[in-house]
């Protein structure tokens, strides 16, 4: 199982629909300061069900919607979709490809979907639970988060290991 693509539309600085086709192995993302690299990382944290505006560096959840720029008007909706290659059958579904998506509207309403069919966030968590992709996303280490692992209290480090268990 691996991520075969990430599709952002209206999510943070990705106003236009943007597709990142990925492969197995190592993908390296580069670019100038402020260009949108960490926004891609936030998109992955978000589509997997994060409910914390703070871990998405915003003040409220609607901060993930493209806010506009001097040349472009803001959007009313943000959406992120990941396409998971399931040819190896790791996920407990009969599809060789599984699409997971999340959208948010300016009203604050959120919609999740698996292969285009609306579902709850819980359904996504269950679909991915055997892979270790829990809610805390210990697999996604955001910028500047490394220090927190060391300065955490011993109980927090325990929780970190428990999450991955």
């Amino acid at each position: 199982m691996y991520l075969s693509s990430v599709i952002l539309h209206g999510f943070k600085s990705f106003a236009d629909k943007t597709v990142l086709d990925l492969e197995r192995g190592i993908t390296v993302v580069v670019g100038p300061n402020g260009s949108g690299k960490s926004n891609v990382v936030d998109a992955l944290t978000w589509v997997l069900g994060s409910h914390s505006a703070k871990s998405l560096r915003g003040g409220q959840m609607a901060d993930v919607i493209f806010a506009g720029s001097p040349e472009r008007r803001g959007f009313g909706r943000a959406s992120v979709e990941i396409v998971i290659d399931n040819a190896a059958g790791t996920l407990p579904v009969d599809y060789s490809e599984v699409r997971v998506s999340r959208s948010m509207f300016a009203s604050g309403e959120t919609e999740y979907a698996i292969n285009g069919e609306a579902c709850r966030q819980l359904d996504i968590a269950e679909l991915l639970s055997d892979t270790g992709l829990g809610r805390e996303h210990h697999q996604i280490v955001g910028q500047g988060r490394l220090e927190a692992i060391l300065s955490a209290r011993p109980e927090d480090r325990r929780a970190f290991i428990e999450e991955a268990a």
């Binding site: 691996y2 600085s13 990142l20 197995r24 949108g36 692992i149």
Partner: protein, 159 residues
Amino acid sequence: IRSVFAEAFHDVAEAFAELFPRLFPGGEGRLVLTDPDDLLDTGVEVEARPPGKRVKRLSLLSGGERSLTALAILFAIFRARPSPFYVLDEVEAALDDVNLQRFLTVVAEFRETSQLILVTHQKRTMEVADLLYGVSMHSSGVSRVISQRMGEQPSAAAS
């Protein structure tokens, strides 16, 4: 019955003891339970002694040594409980050239079992890529991407 946590801690601590000396050749690192008799509430302490030093207090480690120790913990968890993919955003920013190389050597090993997405400004990290994505933002405040398979020509990722 051994709890799920005890099992996981055992495996992570074992992986940490193996990975730490690879990131700190000649050093010693250990993960220890703060209260082994109380598996339900115990915390996890980190002991890290870089080579040639006696200091064990974590706060006295240097910036780069702290990054490397935290990476050893992460990699130990990744090894003990593998996941299909990992995303690391500029985790190697504080490392010097020698430690950066050690980090990249360990990263390359994970490539066998998992997909890795690394955000970086370091040229040496770019060199280990199978696929490179360049992100840019023009005056419009909108991000765009362009990809390049290492060893091939670039192609713009359009909408």
